[in-house]
Amino acid sequence: MILTNIIAILMLVALVSLIIGSKFSRSLPYLAAGSVVLCFFLLARFASNNHDIFHQAMPLLSVPWITSLGIDYATFIDSLSFILVALTLILALVCILVSVNEIQHHHNFYYFNLLTALAGIIGVFAAADLFLFFFFWEVMLLPMTALIAIWGHENRRYAAIKFFIFTQVSSLLMLVAIIIMAFIHQQQFGEISFNYFDWQRLNLSMPLQYWLMLGFFIAFAVKLPSFPFHTWLPDAHTQAPTAGSVLLAGVLLKTGAYGLMRFVLPLFEQATVEFAPIAIALGVISIIYGAVMAFAQSDFKRLVAYSSISHMGFVTLALFSFSSIAYHGAIVTIVAHGLSSAALFSMAGILYQRLHTRELSKMGGLFASAPRMGGMLLVFVAAAFGMPGLLNFVGEFMTLTGTFASHPVATVLAATAMIGSAIYGMYLFQGSFQGKPHAGVQIADLLAHEWLLCGLLFALLLYLGLFPQSLLMHFEAIYPAANITVTGGKL
């Protein structure tokens, strides 16, 4: 019931703000923030009442929806969903905080889109029925496209259309795979079913399994994004409004990683083992390619966008190495990247509001007028390049430690990104805050609500970086592919 309630609250508030919000546009942020905090409170209360049953998936509300096709409205929660839903809600708050001064027109429709996208994302993490999953997958896509296309920067329509086409085309592949799976269930068990837990009993023959796996994998690889499906991301991130970038980098990319963890790895065990060398190669290429590309950018947001590709490459690498240490590393990396990239995009937004540019060449020397902002940026950049003590380091370290046993060469190549990330991180920090200030450029330091969001993200990165066990302690039991022996060739 809990996740359904959260989705319902968000949708309801979205509708309310759409219908009556045009008259109260000043108070809309409070309304949205209030609903998000309420959702978070509900989730926290649920977690504190049920903290011992996270080890297994816990079914929640399930009602028949389209009975003739065996489609239910079915949701469930486990520690992975819980962490991602909590991350979504935290970043939702960040999104609202960065929107306060940025959004200048159509406030009511803006918050409608923002909250609907959030509801869709939470639905994706909650769905136990694959049809429902696909439904929410589309629900989060449309408002996101609208956010980019309406409130974005100068080249927003191009970016929005590119984002939409990439996601839509790839998710159609997934839809085909979902339908085939449902019919295979009918062949094997006599009735059509889209239920995730039913699917785990399926017995899939090999070439078919491989193709189905590819259908899912491509959809998730586009979302992740993995090389070579990544090119929508720099445009979408750069053109989106700040909250859109935060949402995209912070949680939307995580739906791709979630899909890999939830569906690709457990449902197609044999095919993933066979596919692993290719996936690992893609992961390593993403890691290096993203890092090199990030260095070549002169646009603040574009740089961070490419660094996201690099970081998410670690997730691909970790998941397809079938090591439980790396699997834990992937979970940590997901959360860490969600927080740190959200922080960096917020910084970009904060700077954009003051300077009206994202070009690093037009920044420089800002430390003199805004030392606290510079300090915060340094912390977030340090998180991004894997400074120990902050959460990203734990993720990277666990990932690489885990993959080293089975894929030493891939690990060595991936580790070069530690150098690459230092290079682009320093380039970003020094380009914007060090050096000689441009004549007459004076910017205001962090405002109260900006302090709140920076402080929130920093505190989380630091706390989880020092006590990552609080994230990982529920994950001992659920590693899905631990019993697979790696038969794929070593890379």
């Binding site: 090199v292 590309m293 080293f404 580790a415 320093m426 060090q434 990552p468």
Partner: protein, 614 residues
């Protein structure tokens, strides 16, 4: 929480206070906070070391105190803990870090007094001490890595402290990225080590070496990768190029980070992991090679520097080369002792150089100094004390430690006479560049444009005097290091009897040579920098920077900028370009002109009819 776990937290707290209230603190308050942070941890370390020695006196097993705070994360079954470990080796390190660090903090308080960002500066310095303490106290290699990265970040911040000068920012970035290459190698070493031993706890790894040692291949790789980390941090070949540029930072930073503490972290790491290195004698030999080549190359480069701080920077590299050489030869006790004495005399040298630079209005070129002995006698004498320790003049601390290293080279199984000769040659060059520096800076006529304004603040002078005492007597501080290290068995062959006299005598000969070449004669013209190509080559650090720039940096930047618009995106755009092209081709037919349609209709009909008829 005992004193051991609190140790790194004292400077951390003062860092937090300084950074939070930065602009609201005046000089006195900020100084008190910063000095008390480091001072408290110095007092705590003195107490801890006393306890440790008391324990080690009463029992003959190697003593160590371990304090665990919490489990950081799990690597499979292995718990990576946030835990600190104190044994005689880390005792030496914390004593140096907090003791020398405290003195340098005191000096820095006077040196940076006029700076408008004074409390931010002291905050960074405190943070550095905290990170360095974590590094040397870490009970496992992941926590060590935390400190390792932490000191790197502080080094970056402090080199680029005057960030508005583009040159400083570039130097800071270079230091960070070059050491980061080493850090990555170190991280890879940790991955390999974990794969082989299933633990990253230092004591567990070392204990395993007795029962089930690493295979020789694994030990070879691990030792090599750890060495990679060490050469990055300790500015040894081939990752040494960042250190001379790092002198862009304020002088107390150079003294603290780039001479006394952080750059010796690599030496500490190799000494700490001695058990692993003993499984890989080839790599120990490589360590010796690294050290000896670095000490020679850095010495030669130091001979041609014109900036007083760059001379000292190259000299630091060269002295760390001695430590590496000592480690490679199995003379760990001597190497760590040299680490300690070097911290004393090099901090003294840098700080006196700082006092000179401050008096000379931030003039660092030695050819614009001269005659300082008469104008700043106290500072000059302190500087010469430092130089005496640097060249291992008999009776100074440097003599104790450096002679101990050199004395073990001849017979060491992983070093040998060739290394002894290189070390001796290095000692000769050390004397030569040291006295070139002394003669040009302190003798002859003053050549600067501005009048000298020596500072006489007690915070400036007291640390200098205390460091001078340590530079002379510091070699006799008891360390108990023998308990930590495995003694390496040397073959019984006798080394020649003239070894000692040559080792002691040659540096003294070099002083005479330096006197002949560099001492300013009363009737001669002013000393000028050399002009020859060899001199320039040496001044530019033997061309390493230019080579790396041409081979690595430029191609990388070029490649990255070349693909700035993402070739993959071009492929994707090819699809849309295709659609647009066909679209516009098809569009051209639909002109909207009625007569054109009629004409094509007619022509089409004619063609069809002709086709039917023929």
């Amino acid at each position: 929480m005992t004193a051991l776990t609190l140790l790194p937290f004292f400077p951390l707290f003062s860092f937090l206070i300084l950074i939070i209230f930065s602009k609201r603190l005046n000089w006195q308050l900020a100084t008190v906070i910063a000095l008390s942070g480091v001072g408290l941890s110095f007092l705590a370390s003195v107490l801890l070391i006393n306890d440790l020695y008391a324990v080690s006196q009463s029992s003959d097993i190697s003593a160590g105190v371990r304090e665990s705070l919490w489990t950081w994360f799990m690597l499979g079954e292995h718990e990576v803990q946030v835990a600190f470990f104190l044994d005689p080796l880390s005792a030496v390190m914390i004593a140096v870090v907090t003791g020398v660090g405290w003195l340098i903090h005191g000096f820095a308080a006077a040196y940076m007094r006029e700076d408008e960002n004074y409390s931010r500066f002291m905050a960074y310095m405190n943070l550095f001490i905290c990170a360095m303490l974590i590094l040397v106290l870490a009970d496992n290699l992941v926590l060590l890595y935390l400190g390792w990265e932490g000191v790197g970040l502080c080094s970056f911040l402090l080199i680029g402290f005057w960030y508005q000068e583009p040159g400083n920012a570039i130097a800071a970035r270079k230091a960070f990225i070059v050491t980061r290459i080493g850090d990555t190698l170190l991280a890879l070493g940790l991955f390999y080590l974990f794969l082989e031993t299933n633990t990253l706890n230092i004591q567990e790894i070392l204990a395993q070496q007795d029962s089930s040692p690493l295979s020789s291949e694994a030990a070879w790789w691990i030792a090599l990768l750890l060495l990679g980390g060490a050469v990055g941090k300790s500015a040894q070949l081939p990752l040494h190029t960042w250190l001379p540029d790092a002198m862009a930072g304020p002088t107390p930073v150079s003294a603290l980070i780039h001479a006394a503490t952080m750059v010796t972290a690599g030496v500490y790491l190799i000494a700490r992991m001695q058990g692993v290195y003993l499984q890989a004698p080839d790599i120990l030999n490589l360590v010796a090679w690294t050290g000896s080549l670095t000490l020679l190359i850095a010495g030669i480069a130091a001979l041609a520097q014109e900036d007083i701080k760059r001379v000292l920077a190259y000299s630091t590299m060269s002295q760390i080369g001695y430590m590496m050489l000592g480690l490679g030869a199995g003379a760990n006790v001597a190497a760590i002792t040299h680490l300690m004495t070097h911290a004393f005399f090099k901090a003294l040298l840098f700080l006196t150089a700082g006092a000179i630079i401050l008096a000379a209005h931030h003039q660092q070129n030695i050819f614009h100094m001269g005659g300082l002995l008469k104008r700043m006698p106290l500072i000059s004498i302190l500087f010469v004390i430092g130089i005496a320790a640097l060249i291992a003049f008999p009776g100074t601390s440097g003599f104790v430690s450096k002679e101990a290293i050199i004395g073990q080279l001849w017979q060491s199984p992983t070093a040998g006479p060739a290394f002894w000769w290189m070390a001796i040659l290095g000692a000769f060059i050390t004397s030569l560049y040291s006295f070139r520096l002394v003669f040009i800076t302190f003798f002859g006529q003053y050549r600067g444009q501005h009048e000298l304004h020596p500072q006489r603040h007690f915070l400036l002078l007291v640390p200098l005097c205390m460091l001078a005492v340590l530079a002379i007597l510091g070699g006799y501080i008891p360390t108990n290091l023998e308990q930590v290290f495995v003694a390496v068995d040397a073959p019984d062959s006798q080394s020649p009897s003239w070894l000692h006299s040559v080792a002691i005598g040659l540096p003294l000969v070099a002083i005479v040579v330096a006197y002949v070449i560099y001492f300013p004669r009363a009737n001669a013209t002013e000393p000028v920098p050399g002009k020859g190509s060899l001199y320039r080559f040496s001044r530019n650090g033997l061309g390493f920077d230019a080579t790396y720039d041409a081979l690595l940096v430029k191609p990388f930047v070029k490649l990255a900028k070349l693909n700035r618009h993402d070739a993959i995106d071009l492929l994707v755009q090819l699809i849309s370009w295709n659609a647009f092209t066909w679209n516009s081709a098809a569009k051209a037919i639909q002109s909207g002109r009625l007569r054109w349609y009629a004409a094509t209709l007619g022509i089409g009909t004619i063609i069809l009819l002709l086709g039917v008829m023929l």
